[in-house]
């Protein structure tokens, strides 16, 4: 019963937030003075009129608004402004899978290495491995991903020639981009894991585990990890957000035909329908991931789940 309530509330918030984003995007872009066609040179009046009719720009704004919302609800995002004959839906369905694969690679890298580095730092705290890991982590959060990406590209592709410079398709082509994309989240996760794990390692039950004669590896994997990772789970949502926005620059630098690249292009071109459509797509993906993370968190912490059933204390 508690669970249904919980899900229902979260879903409601999700839908409301999406509505908010849609409306905000619409009104924001509508507020730009002039119309998109005034930038074109010397287009005859009738053509402008018919283009406006095609894009529905000649109707009063509240009609446009409702059509827009209806479009989102039915997942029909309209035609692109700048690319003849292409719809926003097409652009998204071409670019999204590419970005998804890149993002997933970066995510896995960040989680695995982040947790490992953070754990090593926590276990060997205040000694050499800890300092090394944490310095690497600070550098990781301080170097912007586009700088790291260009540096990797320069060094490994242009100078050393051992990895491909750009484009997409083979596994080796995905190595440098996913490393660039995963650096910041990896560093964050490492710091979070270390912070949490240091606290857990100070707990009495770790002392109990040690007194049983358990070797360090078992102490960490059985008793420490699960209790340290809850905070990392809460970070998952901002993590996805960061990887998503990071993809804009990384895809641009490596020439990857993903959605991020398209988004950047549409911004430079002021292709408003694409901007709006992709924004809605991104927001839906991110807000859904927040919702899923909340759900995971709810299931992971037994104290939240079990408190109603507890026996008497003391």
């Amino acid at each position: 019963m508690q669970l249904i309530n919980f899900i229902f509330k979260k879903l409601l918030i999700l839908l409301f937030s999406l509505f908010l984003v849609a409306s905000l995007t619409f009104f924001l872009l509508k507020s730009i003075p002039g119309d998109p066609f005034s930038q074109e040179q010397a287009v005859p009046e009738e053509i402008i009129k018919s283009m406006k009719a095609y894009y529905g720009l000649d109707e009063p704004w509240h009609i446009q608004y409702f059509k827009y919302l209806k479009g989102i609800a039915t997942w029909n995002l309209g035609p692109s402004f700048k690319y003849e004959g292409r719809t926003v839906n097409e652009i998204i369905s071409e670019g999204a899978p590419v970005s998804f694969i890149l993002g997933a690679e970066a995510l896995i890298l960040a989680i695995i290495f982040g947790i490992t580095l953070g754990s090593i730092a926590a276990i060997k705290r205040c000694r050499f491995p800890d300092h090394v890991c944490m310095i690497m982590a600070v550098i990781g959060i301080s170097i912007p991903n586009f700088i790291l990406a260009t540096f990797l590209q320069y060094f490994f592709s242009m100078k050393l020639g051992i990895l491909p410079v750009a484009r997409w398709g083979s596994f080796t082509q995905s190595i440098l981009p996913s490393i660039s994309l995963s650096a910041l989240p990896m560093a964050f996760i490492a710091r979070l894991t270390r912070g949490n794990m240091v606290e857990v390692l100070e707990q009495d039950y770790v002392m109990t585990a040690k007194s049983k004669g358990l070797p360090l590896f078992l102490i960490v994997t059985r008793h420490v990890l699960k209790n340290s990772l809850l905070t990392v789970v809460t970070y998952l949502a901002p993590l996805c957000s960061g990887i998503l926005t990071g993809s804009f620059v990384v895809e641009k630098i490596f020439g990857i035909p993903g959605l991020g690249g398209w988004f950047v292009t549409s911004i430079t071109n002021r292709d408003y329908t694409v901007i709006m459509g992709v924004t809605m797509f991104y927001s839906s993906v991110l807000m859904t991931s927040v919702f899923l993370v909340d759900l995971i968190y709810y299931f992971l912490d037994p104290r939240i789940k079990l408190i109603p059933r507890s026996a008497s204390h003391g």
Partner: protein, 304 residues
């Protein structure tokens, strides 16, 4: 030296001085400063930042070039005695432009962090102290705003508002204050249960007085730390925007625009990207180290 046999007599002075509790009492801020100084990385970064600010002010006057002068016959020159950091594709002196960029990036970063701080502190403190329905509504509103991906919001706003320093700062601060508000609110929630608030109330202090005189000063530690850590994020956002072409316009140089220009020439004229990239990274790194150092120094649990 007495012989030990003679010492079996009642004692006159019992080393009672050993019983005195001895520790020197120093204020919270003094203690924090001492701890901060002990952290060599943090302290070193602070020195670096001070030098950077100094150079940002004086740097453009050191070389005898301006940031906008073009020397078209000397474009894309390697670093030399004449142009210490080389020239860009329009023959402009990169050294001077770096310090101009420093002014822009630092100004944008610090202003945005400062505005975030003001809005966030008051929003969070007000919400936290009010409690009840007001707190719930205010935080719900903030949560919904926060669920929009930050960079996405900033990008959209820049598309709408057009480039320029004021618009960048505005775009960054519209949702950037939420983090600070949450932190301040959490602190206030803890503090308001403490007895000194009860004491103030029973002496007749009103809501705003308690807020301004009692609670906010006690949150200063977290506020300063968070603000220090917001600056590198703001510098990053500006660089990111400029990289996408949404930042400041030519001929004004920000590190982000310089990096963006330098990218296309990476293969043949790497110094054009190297200098802005290095400065962005080092500055962000320094602010992060100082912020970390502040966080550790101001943590009351670690007081010795």
């Amino acid at each position: 030296m007495d012989k030990i046999e003679d010492l079996f007599i009642p004692c006159k002075d019992k080393n009672l001085h050993l019983q005195k509790v001895s520790f020197v009492s120093i204020s919270f801020w003094e203690d924090a400063w001492i701890r901060f100084k002990k952290n060599k990385l943090a302290f070193g970064s602070l020195i670096f930042l001070l030098i950077l600010i100094f150079m940002a002010i004086l740097g453009p006057f050191i070389s005898n070039h301006t940031y906008f002068e073009t020397h078209l016959h000397l474009k894309n020159e390697k670093p030399s005695k004449e142009f210490w950091f080389g020239t860009d594709e329009l023959g402009r002196d990169i050294f001077t432009r770096i310090w101009w960029g420093a002014r822009i990036s630092l100004f944008v970063g610090i202003s945005a962090a400062f505005i975030d701080m003001i809005i966030g502190v008051f929003y969070g403190a007000f919400s936290g102290l009010s409690g009840g329905k007001t707190d719930e509504i205010m935080m719900r509103f903030a949560d919904i705003l926060h669920s929009l991906p930050y960079l996405l919001v900033v990008i959209l706003l820049m598309v709408v508002m057009g480039p320029g320093i004021p618009t960048i700062i505005l775009a960054m601060t519209i949702t950037g204050w939420i983090n600070m508000a949450r932190i301040v609110r959490a602190q206030i929630l803890q503090l308001k249960e403490l007895d000194f608030v009860l004491a103030a109330r029973s002496l007749g202090a009103g809501f705003s007085r308690i807020l301004i005189q009692h609670l906010i000063p006690n949150t200063l530690g977290s506020v300063i730390t968070t603000m220090t850590l917001t600056i590198p994020a703001a510098i990053f956002t500006e660089a990111f925007l400029s990289f996408l072409g949404l930042g400041v316009q030519a001929p004004i140089a920000s590190w982000g625009t310089m990096a963006s220009d330098g990218l296309s020439a990476l293969r043949y004229y790497p110094w054009r990207l190297f200098f802005p990239a290095a400065f962005i990274s080092l500055t962000m790194l320094s602010f992060n180290l100082v912020g970390d150092g502040l966080r550790d120094a101001l943590d009351p649990r670690l007081r010795s």
